[in-house]
Symmetry: C2
Subunit: 275 residues, 2 copies
Amino acid sequence: MNLNENEKPIGVFDSGIGGLTVVKRIASTLPNENIIYFGDTARVPYGSKSNLTVIEYSLQDARFLINKGVKAIVVACNTASSIALDELRKHFALPIIGMIEPGAQAAKAATKSGKIGVIGTRATIGNKAYSEAIRKLDAKLDVVERACPLFVPLAEEGWIDHKATYEIAEEYLKELRSLNIDTLVLGCTHYPILSKVIKKVIGENVTLIDSGVASAEIVENELNKINLLTENKLQGKQEFYVSDIPVKFKEVADLFLGRTINHVHKVDLEVLTEI
Amino acid sequence: MNLNENEKPIGVFDSGIGGLTVVKRIASTLPNENIIYFGDTARVPYGSKSNLTVIEYSLQDARFLINKGVKAIVVACNTASSIALDELRKHFALPIIGMIEPGAQAAKAATKSGKIGVIGTRATIGNKAYSEAIRKLDAKLDVVERACPLFVPLAEEGWIDHKATYEIAEEYLKELRSLNIDTLVLGCTHYPILSKVIKKVIGENVTLIDSGVASAEIVENELNKINLLTENKLQGKQEFYVSDIPVKFKEVADLFLGRTINHVHKVDLEVLTEI
């Protein structure tokens, strides 16, 4: 065992800054690990783009992290996880953990009635990523999916308890509610920000699955299995890279990560497309 | 006068497909002109990105159109117009028409009370592009600006008469309404799609300025001045290029352009970043 390998950081990438909610989960599960985050804010969002484009961007994002010397990659973007995971695993040998399988496993573990709802971006839902992953675990489970494209901009606006957010949640979730699901997968990293509204509208008795929490546990298991967990006992360090620093970056980063980011590195798009 | 020059197409670019509302206006004002449209759907939206990134993307978009042999360029994106117009005019010699000045002129012509409101994306409003352009025309005019980031995703969802859209418009427009403006500039190409809601919320007596209509008139004047209007008497042809074909492309294009696009060309991002 090479000690040095263990002390490499975990790489996390996302289409933008939604994945900071996943960093928060990983840091809570694995507080001693160093984390390098890359957010592709110059090309965000991925959720409305084509599969080919999402695969191309994801390969670039992963390459950027690998060049930074990470020991594993977490694809903290449900859209990229649902579209690009196989392609990423074909290209790179290190452990790559997505959002879909962990979320599907957590949903299977949580449901009693066997009726599961999944919400996500248009791309994630269009690819039926969650329903296929859940049915692969147990073909008897009943899965209904629904795209909620306005939830991302609502979360980024910080309208986490606004009347309009309730109206929109009502429209998006009414069908799922009428189907009496007992478990709802939040299949987009932005959605945990809106969990209060979602919970109120879908019903307090419905279990919400945060794929970020589920994937943080898988990261721990995977690294443990191959003896790659850090032996560091101090608090892990985090570094943040983005391809663009958007106007509202600081505000949104605070809301998503739950603490202030003091320094963020800007990566030129040329660097990304040439590696 | 080189006849050939007149028969070149007008180039129109936008961050995505919102600019199709501008194509609709140009085609209505100048029905015999050929139009080439480029929508940067692989990197949409520009409205939440940094100035440097918006300038870089805009230069690439313009270069793409120039390589297609256009005689003039319409920057059918308020964000790009507000940030990149000077830079574009420095780089390229052909006529380049943005959205801001035409919209500002139309607002000045329309207002009686001298109180003008402007709504747009976070980037357009953050740059104070409209208020500066309007005050340059007449320093006595009173301009109040407000960013409405959720209007773009609402228009793309097609929620043009939804209860939630009214709620959101109510939140965004209440301050402007209380200031008794008599003219409101729709400073984003997506907003004319929501004009029914906006009109109801801001008040039926407020004149809405569609910058697309205003800029189409400027295009006509500019081309007329330099004798570059087409002499073609048949209906002009339109060609559409995008950097990505998003999941909902057809639906949204129909809504924005007012007719079906039968064929759209996909441009690889590499082509764009290398020209």
